[in-house]
Amino acid sequence: MSARILAFMIGPVSSAAPLDAREVEHLARLARLDLTPQEQDNLRGDLGRILGYFEQLRGVDTAEAEEMQRPVSLINVLREDVPGEVLAPEVVAALAPEREGGFIRVPRTVEQD
């Protein structure tokens, strides 16, 4: 889709109804992101613009349109239960930020006893 058509469809973007600081904090907590106040501020602006697009979409009259959850109307697409390949352990290990034995080391998820 060309930028011209996209601009026609969504029009000039306004950063309407920005998120408040608490909403950004909540989202950061769910995403387990540790954000500086500056980063939170930037995100408020970015997310506000994204929400602005959706505000515009919401303005379109869809009373006559059929609800569509997926872009392609396929149904009953299945795979036979046949086992395939696994990744070589060294490939998996190389993708892990930290390792111990065959395990992937991650920040501790439960409190110490």
């Binding site: 959850q69 299945l78 795979r79 046949v82 390949e85 395990f103 998820t109």
Partner: protein, 473 residues
């Protein structure tokens, strides 16, 4: 007074790991049990960019089979939703689960005469496993389990006690195993149970419920229910309030504890999975799945009861795939059904347990056990001889051949029995005198030595009859 008593209101959530060869949404092999960590992993398991899920047909069929066995509605539209959460056990940052249209709905299971309603059963993928080494500032992740297929089954709050919950879970386990849907072994984590429990006085509204998570044995479920019922009752009787917590179960301490929950608040932002087309389960599809379904434990039980097997034995046989398969094969041998069940669940089970082995691992042939029971039924060997033969029969020997080889048939030679009686009488003149003086009961003191002298091969009734004759009774 009874009406003032608090009663528990219990619902269960059961996760069963499906017995497929590959994972739910990719061809990654699923048979990871006992494997080194992170060796059953493919790009989809890791949630690598560009990967797309493809649904395992067998997982759908197994879920349908399970749903049908629980008397659920399974036809019609069903789809997957993304359940978003960020946690190290799921590198793709969401679980593919079902939300508004689970694959199975509105079923029930009869347990001990009571009907437990099944709210829903849905398909979802499992997460990886986190280990938390003591004193380490980190956790360890194994992704072998990530992406393997699960059924999550949720009951209505129709259960009232631990014993009933256990019976329900045993039924679910028996059904899953009979269908080959899941190994359903709690000790391997292939059947996991969470309990929702509140207490109230009959006639009053339900109390605040707690959720007890990660119960990894039926015994734990039963104990946790007893503990929570008592604890909540105590709190309420003391005028306190039950707080709506997520609890863990401390098996060693025999008590529940408040768990820190995974998410501060549930905010999963479910949405229909765009990468997976929905399913339309047609009546033809259901018929195909139904045709694959073997006899269910409840049907087996009815069949055994009709054949004259006692209730407890019929229940035990029907709940075990291995036992019922063996028993059915042995029934063909024409032995009395109840006596066959009695031998299988009694002497055979006892000997297997003593040898720390299982029916499947032993060399015992169904036809051989049937032959052994028939030998007793026909009076060809005594019960005692049969018991003596059992260890060898368990090792794969044919009992008929053993009887022939060892000359163990019932002693029909009355001469030999008479000789044994004479010897016993000579050895115990005091008893003989008592009997002759009119004490008929004293006869029993002679009976034992005669049976012993004949190696247990003499027919007891013949020995008794000839003893009485000799002593003029």
């Amino acid at each position: 007074m009874l009406t003032r008593m608090y009663r528990a209101v219990i619902g269960l959530e059961v996760h069963l790991q499906l017995k497929t060869r590959s994972k739910l949404f990719s061809a990654c092999p699923a048979d990871y049990h006992g494997a080194d960590p992170n060796t059953f992993v493919d790009p989809l398991t890791l949630g690598l960019p560009g990967t797309l899920p493809t649904l395992n047909r067998e997982a759908v069929d197994l879920a349908l089979m399970f749903g049908l066995a629980l008397n659920c509605d399974v036809t019609g539209f069903t789809q997957f939703h993304r359940k978003n959460y960020f946690y190290p056990d799921s590198p793709k940052n969401f679980q593919l689960s079902q939300y508004d249209r689970p694959i199975a709905r509105n079923g029930y299971l009869e347990v001990g005469g009571a009907r437990v309603r099944i709210k829903r059963a849905h398909l979802e993928d499992d997460a990886g496993k986190l280990l938390h080494p003591a004193y380490a500032p980190y956790s360890l992740l194994d992704l072998n389990r990530a992406g393997s297929p699960l059924i999550e089954m949720v009951t209505e709050a129709d259960l009232t006690g631990g014993e009933q919950a256990r019976a329900f879970l045993e039924s679910v386990q028996a059904i899953a195993q009979a269908l080959g849907v899941s190994d359903a072994t709690p000790e391997e984590g292939k059947l996991r149970c969470d309990v929702n429990l509140s207490v109230h006085r009959p006639g009053e509204p339900w109390g605040t419920k707690v959720e007890v998570k990660n119960l990894n044995s039926f015994r734990s479920v039963e104990r946790a229910i007893a503990y929570e019922t008592a604890r909540q009752t105590r709190v309420l009787q003391a005028g306190g309030t039950v707080s709506q917590d997520t609890l863990g179960w401390d098996e060693g301490g025999g008590k529940t504890f408040v768990m820190r929950t995974k998410e501060g608040e549930a905010d999963y932002r479910y949405f229909p999975e765009p990468d997976l087309p929905p399913l339309d389960i047609t009546p033809e599809w259901v018929a195909r799945v139904r045709a694959r379904m073997p006899e269910l434990p409840a049907q087996k039980r009815e069949r055994y009861l009709a054949a004259g097997v006692r209730e407890a034995d019929a229940q035990a046989l029907s709940h075990s795939v291995a036992l019922s398969r063996f028993y059915d094969a042995a029934l063909v041998g024409g032995a009395d059904p109840q006596r066959l069940a009695h031998w299988l669940l009694g002497d055979v089970a006892g000997l297997l347990a003593a040898r720390e082995t299982t029916l499947e691992a032993s060399a015992l042939q169904p036809a051989h056990l049937a032959a052994l029971v028939r030998l007793i039924d026909e009076g060809a060997v005594s019960g005692r001889v049969a018991k003596d033969l059992l260890p060898d029969v368990l090792d794969g020997h044919d009992p008929q051949r053993l009887v022939q080889e060892r000359g163990l048939g019932v002693l029909t030679d009355t001469g030999a029995i008479d000789a044994a009686i004479d010897a016993a009488m000579t050895a115990d003149p005091a008893t003989v005198a008592k009997v002759r003086a009119g004490n008929a009961k004293a006869l029993n003191a002679l009976f034992g030595p005669v049976m012993k002298a004949t190696g247990g091969q003499a027919k007891p009734e013949v020995v008794r009859e000839r003893l009485r004759a000799k002593l003029g009774l």
